[in-house]
Amino acid sequence: MPERVNEIIRSPGFWVTVWRRFLRDPVALAAALVVLGLILMAVFAPWIAPQDPFQGMSLRRLKPPGTEGYPLGTDELGRDMLSRLIHGARISLFMGIVPVLCALFIGAAIGIVAGYSGGWTNTLLMRTVDVFFAFPSVLLAVALAGALGPGMTNGLIALTLVFIPPIARVAESVTTGVRSRDFVEAAKASGAGALLIIRKHVLGNVLGPIFVYAMSLVAVSMILAAGLSFLGLGVKPPQPDWGLMLNTLRTAMYTQPLLCALPGVMIFITSISFNLMTDGLRSAMDIKA
């Protein structure tokens, strides 16, 4: 038996290369740092927030930003705006990320199975997906949330259902693309079974693009989830959620416009950061030989 050579010079793997390229993109990097900051803020909200986000006092309602002790003012119940915005990151990010993650799992599974098996399985799965795709996303989200009734769980279900079809479609087309590539044929020619090929050859090539696509939906999901809360179909009070805060503060629009704008600013910052980060990631992944 031949000897195995040990001191191999290993090239950095795909993701390492992507990471390095990503680090070289200042805009994407800044966006990623903002996202990271927001996530940390959400995770450590109870420790960071200067005040109890639920504790209000009617005597200090609707103080403008810059008020002593309340750097970002107070909301319509006299709760500290800064603390609520910090805590709001939890639900808002949660509602942005979790539905997309759930949809990523389900949608990717559907798409990869459909794309790899082709034929009738594909037709059946993708036609079903098409039915849900036949609804504009906002309509579907609103209709589902409206039918199921407001609440975080229902919002999660609605958004997950909204994002499964697009992810499944992308997964299907990427998989179909990969499936017909020569290296998959070569693996088949080596006698590998379908599951092994999917695991070793398809997933590695498919998950990246699907993941990036899903990432690009996080911003949409956030805006949509906040929109549902804004309509009164999402998170229920007194939970601090940016969309809901936007809704409840709306009545103070004329007295404290700046204050009312704050939750929207947070949504905007988060979604633009996610978008820029995704753009950066996408171009970092676009490695040409």
Binding site: R127, F132, V138, L139, V142, G146, A261, F268, N275
Partner: protein, 317 residues
């Protein structure tokens, strides 16, 4: 071509059936009493049962579905429980209003989006591209309902230049295309155009960059075409995809207008949907969702056929 169109239409039928099933199932998922909008909570049980029977809510689901589907096929999408008016008249008026809004928004979004997209794609990696791209990222990232609020605060409440809500001084039925009425359309349409602007700009930018990187552009230069001439070619190459994106965006606006219409009290399908949800007017909810979804399906179909017609590369069979 006709064969192709027929084929596409036939392929759409199962999807339409699926859509009707989803629409029907959606409202029956709904917790709570379907008659809540006509029955006050203090109505007695016997009145309630009597009414359930009157509206057919006591029958098994599949029977209700088949009856409903049968009536839908005959063009009757039900009667609003609350108002007693046919859902179709409610919707047709609302669709008209939303269409007006969405069409203007699509136009604004399309004009700006294409402009930014073309400029960015042409001047790739220059500051012009960066500015135009920043605007398009703004478009896809901004929560438009919030933007709507901000615009109302600035232009209606503070500056008083434009009216904050409604569809004209006399309501949508008095609509006229004059400045007095048009004023009411500006804020909602601008707000609504932001997302399609962003999406179209991004699509067009990618499209233009992709087309410009193709060899045939070198070919066009080599045969002596000026930049204006090349621009014409780029437009024609980009048109099928760009128009398809625009069509689909129009569909999204029609179906997704609920947030904007709620902010601006614009009497369109979104507001109707909102009313239907919060008043638990199930037939109205069902009908509105159905019509909007069907609209979207048909629009997709039209976009598809149109794209096939515009793009000689696509095989028609």
């Amino acid at each position: 071509m006709i064969l192709y169109a027929t084929k596409r239409v036939l392929l759409t039928l199962p999807i339409m059936l699926g859509v009707t099933i989803v629409c029907f199932a959606l409202v029956h998922l709904a917790p709570g009493d379907p008659l809540i909008s006509v029955l006050p909570p203090d109505a007695s049980q016997s009145i309630k049962e009597q009414m359930m029977a009157l509206y057919g809510f006591d029958r098994p689901y599949h029977e209700q579905f088949l009856r409903w589907l049968w009536r839908v096929l005959q063009g009757d999408i039900g009667t609003s429980i609350r108002t007693g008016r046919p859902v179709s008249t409610e919707i047709s008026k609302a669709v008209g209003n939303t269409l007006m809004l969405a069409a203007l928004a699509t136009c604004i979004g399309f004009l700006l989006g294409t402009l930014f997209g073309f400029v960015a794609g042409y001047f790739r990696d220059t500051w012009i591209d960066k500015t135009a791209s920043a605007l398009s990222v703004f478009g896809v990232s901004v929560p438009h309902y919030w933007l709507g609020m901000v615009l109302v605060i600035v232009f209606a409440a503070t500056l008083g230049w434009l009216p904050p809500t409604g569809a004209g001084p006399g309501g949508s039925e008095d609509w006229k295309w004059d400045w007095v009425h048009f004023k009411y359309l500006i804020l909602p349409a601008v707000t609504m155009s932001v997302i399609p602007m962003g999406i179209i700009a991004r699509t067009v930018r990618a499209l233009v960059a992709e087309i410009l990187s193709q060899e045939f552009v070198v070919g066009l230069r080599a045969k002596g075409l000026s930049e204006v001439g090349i621009f014409g070619h780029v437009v024609k190459n980009a048109a099928p995809t760009a128009l398809a994106v625009m069509g689909i965006q129009l569909g999204y606006l029609l179906g997704g207008s609920i947030l904007i219409e709620t902010v601006f009290a614009w009497p369109g399908t979104g507001l109707l949907l909102n009313d239907a949800i919060f008043q638990r007017d199930l037939p109205l909810l069902q009908g509105t969702i159905l019509v909007l979804a069907m609209f979207f399906v048909v629009l997709n179909l039209a976009v598809d056929v149109m794209q096939t017609m515009l793009d000689p590369r696509i095989q028609r069979a």
